[in-house]
Symmetry: C2
Amino acid sequence: MDKIQRNERIAVLLKMLSDSPGKLFTLGSFTELFGSAKSTISEDIDIVQKLMARFEMGLIETVPGASGGVRFVPFVGKNSIQEVTQSLCAELSRKERILPGGYLYMQDVIYDPQKVSQIGRIFSAQFYPKGVDYVITVETKGIPLAYITAQYLNVPLVIARHYNEATDGPSVNINYVSGSSKKIQTMVLSLKSIKRNSRILFIDDFMKAGGTAKGIIELAKEFESEVVGIGVLIGTVEPAKKLVDDYFSLLTLHSVDEENGIIDIRPSNF
Amino acid sequence: MDKIQRNERIAVLLKMLSDSPGKLFTLGSFTELFGSAKSTISEDIDIVQKLMARFEMGLIETVPGASGGVRFVPFVGKNSIQEVTQSLCAELSRKERILPGGYLYMQDVIYDPQKVSQIGRIFSAQFYPKGVDYVITVETKGIPLAYITAQYLNVPLVIARHYNEATDGPSVNINYVSGSSKKIQTMVLSLKSIKRNSRILFIDDFMKAGGTAKGIIELAKEFESEVVGIGVLIGTVEPAKKLVDDYFSLLTLHSVDEENGIIDIRPSNF
């Protein structure tokens, strides 16, 4: 193998660090990998740090001392968040989206890789400090968002379903009451999918009364695990009293005026 | 803004090019963006090209002439494919995976961001030449694979569902016969989700007789569109005669011996 150049070291460092958020890498591990001096690697990391800051790819934290090193922390700056949320609101408030019953057509947004990626980065930065072990969602519309958040946090995704299937193996069923329609629904999760004592992040596209989120909290209990975060793309203003207390919604839907074709959706205050 | 350094230009070029597979960028667009000379940009692109080759991130194609430029082409080398498929086979042939009826528990693999990402890169390289407009899948288990393939191809994802919902808006329903169970099933797709005359790639986790794939071909016809590729993680040897002729399976499941706990799964020949 040719001697590795600075440009290449930087590309490798950037990838290794961002692929394992929160993982502490010692400088020694890099000097060994590249066969370079510690001072050279320090300079490389400095460049990676600046690059990440400049393009808002995340932060590099330095832990000093003998057992120290560097680690990647997901981060999105305030300006970027504002840009993303404002552009999403502009897109989602187009009146052609209104469906009978005041529902909004959003599939082109929540299945679009570029938009999903931007939203997932914000979720991962928001929930990284919680020390998440799994990201969970309920089929179907929240799956891309949950998947990409899991990818940025480098943890497994888990999908609860409405019906069980032969490929689930033994599974846990719980019933929950949809907060808005008051209908009883079922959630199924394979027993193998979550280890006991895990910290779980629930991600979904939309939250009205919070019935699904409450169901996930109940489901987590059956796995002796805890929901440490709830993140949704859109939360509604009404009902003001949700079935869960603590959640993060990127956007807030204030109202849908079917008659006049006006959707009032705004970036949330957080 | 400070003058942009080579390291930073390279990071930006790498991101811009790989974010838009197939898109032709003129050198002029980069000289403008960075305020650098053409010769400097040429050298930068040379470095990006080598970096991508070295870390198998993809190819940079150069189109000569006045209207020429450079573009990113998804690519995964034979050795990488072999490494990925062999490690997947080792993982998937663990006997603990066998479920009653000879089914395999695979959720930990098909929902794992790192593995899904590796598989999606191979799918995107395989199907890039087809000129794909949309990636489609049917809920639920193939969604992460389909999503990441769509991301690498930079096209929208579309998800067909089994039941329609208020948030779908007007939709097309088709019935199809599951190839193995012979059961009649329904597939629903929102009318807004696919433009007419599109080229569609179907991605799924598993294919036995090919009933779902055939259903997707029928569904595409209702949108006056064409399925130009079918990619599955695992195809089964039996039945040898599938309901679709042309498909790409990364792995082939030869047999599941429930009694002796032996799963025979191998990288496909392609």
